[in-house]
């Protein structure tokens, strides 16, 4: 399985369509404090099916929609698309390339698509059940996670292991 592209639109500090290509082995994202780097990780987490606003550094889900700036009005929805190469048999779908799309409107309405065909959230999360990308895996290490583990109590560290098991 290879992650190819992440396309952000109306997501947090990215009102305009932004495309991130993941072709290389090692890709670095750089820039000053507050410019939007961690928002990219939130977008990836969200399109993969994250349902908890706090896991996206938000209070309510609608907080992830671009809510305006000095020169721009807020927008009414956000859409993230993730393009993945999945050669035969790597994912439980017949395609060799799939596009996962997740949309959220300010009304709270959600839309999910696989290869532009409407589906349920469960269809998206089911895709990744055996791949290590789902919840409980340590593939997406957010800012502060290392520090949280440093300051964790023994029982909290146990929780870390229980989530992996």
């Amino acid at each position: 399985i290879r992650f190819k592209k992440l396309i952000l639109q109306g997501f947090k500090s990215f009102p305009d369509t932004t495309e991130l290509v993941f072709n290389e082995n090692i890709c670095a994202i750089v820039g000053p404090n507050g410019c939007g780097k961690s928002n990219i990780l939130d977008a990836l987490r969200w399109v993969l099916g994250e349902q908890g606003p706090s896991q996206l550094r938000a209070r309510a889900m609608a907080d992830i929609i671009f809510n305006g700036s000095a020169n721009r009005k807020p927008v009414g929805m956000t859409e993230i698309t993730l393009v993945i190469d999945c050669p035969a048999g790597t994912l439980p779908l017949a395609y060799e390339e799939i596009e996962i799309t997740r949309r959220l409107y300010r009304s709270g309405e959600s839309e999910y698509q696989i290869n532009r065909v409407p589906c349920r959230l469960k269809d998206i999360t089911d895709l990744f059940l055996d791949t290590g990308i789902g919840r409980g895996a340590y593939a997406l290490i957010e800012q502060g996670r290392v520090d949280a583990l440093v300051t964790a109590r023994p029982d909290e560290r146990r929780t870390f292991l229980e989530q992996i098991a």
């Binding site: 290389e24 670095a28 820039g31 292991l161």
Partner: protein
């Protein structure tokens, strides 16, 4: 469920010991159940011995040593349940230059089988990237992806 936890504990412990040695260039570390007779409830301790120093629990290490040890544990978790992509957000912040170099060396071996995406402020870390994305906010509050600079001239 006791079996699943014990299996995860043993496997992650094994990865953790080896990754710790790689990142610290020596020494040793392990996870320990605080009460081995109560595997279903007991907490987990982390014992570390950086090279040249005495073994101690993780909380008695220096700031940077703690961060590197915790990173080793997170990466051990990743090794136990691998994924096609590993995304690291500023995990190198508390590390000095020598530790960053060892960390990037480990990343390069990981990158042989995994796509790695890292957010970083560290120039040593940036050097091992095949591609660099810059994010800016020239227009206040609006993020822009400004460049994908390929390090094709690097040594």
């Amino acid at each position: 469920s006791k079996l699943r936890f014990t299996e995860a504990f043993t496997a992650v412990n094994d990865h953790f010991s080896r990754i710790f040695q790689g990142l610290f260039d020596g020494g040793e570390a392990s996870l320990e159940l605080i009460d081995p007779n109560d595997p279903l409830e007991t907490g987990v301790d982390i014992i570390c011995r950086p090279p040249g120093k005495r073994a101690r629990t993780i909380d008695l290490l220096s700031g940077g040593e703690k961060a590197l040890a915790a990173l080793a544990l997170l990466l051990a978790g990743f090794r136990y349940k691998p994924s096609p992509l590993l995304f690291l957000d500023e995990v190198d912040a508390p590390l000095d230059d020598h530790n960053v170099v060892r960390f990037t060396r480990f990343l390069k071996t990981l990158a042989e089988v995994t796509q790695v995406v890292m957010i970083t402020h560290n120039s040593v870390t940036m050097e091992v990237a095949d591609i660099l994305y810059g994010v800016t906010m020239e227009n206040p509050g609006i993020s822009k992806l400004v460049s994908a600079r390929l390090t094709m001239f690097a040594g």
